[in-house]
Symmetry: C2
Subunit: 145 residues, 2 copies
């Protein structure tokens, strides 16, 4: 089987798999290599912090990995794909350090773009899920403070 | 100038404008008409509630409008577009009822798809922003509970 040259991801799924593997290893350098080198590149963390540009995004992951080891279980919910764009919407369950109790879930939208170096991550939007039966109307009044 | 037939949106921007106009009018029927009729259609509200499918999404907006009148100011942050897919990432500032104080901001990712009826909204992912200097590492430990 012919392997892709290093750094070339033939499919959005390859980037996604490499992203979660890099998280499990705590490898911020590798995470940086998976993102498009573009000023519009952005990452919304579940804390509500939004970062734009490759360097701030990589440093944010370095900061996360410095404080905790993470493993993420992923469930695919929806996806849309064209020849140069792909969107994956996922649910993530987090495991932090040696704690066997799952945290989250998170709802995550990933945007991938295809450029000269194959597919890269252009946008990650992650937010905390509420699986409860909270009234949406309450949410508008109280959560959006 | 030739106008588009009713319900046909020639550009993703047309859908987006119609979406915010429908919110300002509290018009859940019109919001339903802007979404793709597809099982993968989904909407993540800033409360952390995720809805899939056109009917639950429309009903959630009906419930929101029953409790509050909303006006949303939008700032465009990033966008990606191909012939059949478009992604807009935005900041939203909310005004609820007659309260002149802005709420939010929200960070929002919109996915648009082009089908036989022109461009439609396929996915809205909205979450509360944290503009403060909260440590990301703290966020991983405490926010993702």
């Amino acid at each position: 089987m012919k392997k892709n040259p290093p750094g070339i991801n033939a499919r959005p799924e390859d980037v996604e798999q490499a992203f979660y593997e890099a998280i499990a290893r705590g490898d911020a350098e590798q995470i940086g290599k998976l993102w498009a080198e573009d000023e519009e590149t952005l990452c919304v963390h579940p804390t509500g912090v939004r970062l734009t540009g490759l360097n701030p995004i990589r440093e944010s992951w370095r900061s996360i990995f410095a404080s905790a080891r993470l493993r993420i279980q992923v469930e695919s919910v929806a996806h849309w794909q064209s020849t140069v764009l792909a969107i994956h919407h996922l649910s993530e369950t987090l495991f932090v350090g040696d704690d066997p109790n799952p945290r989250g879930p998170l709802y995550v939208t990933h945007v991938y773009t295809r450029g000269p170096h194959g597919w890269r991550l252009a946008c990650r939007h992650a937010s905390a899920a509420d699986d409860g039966q909270q009234a949406l109307a309450d949410g508008v009044r109280h959560t959006v403070h």
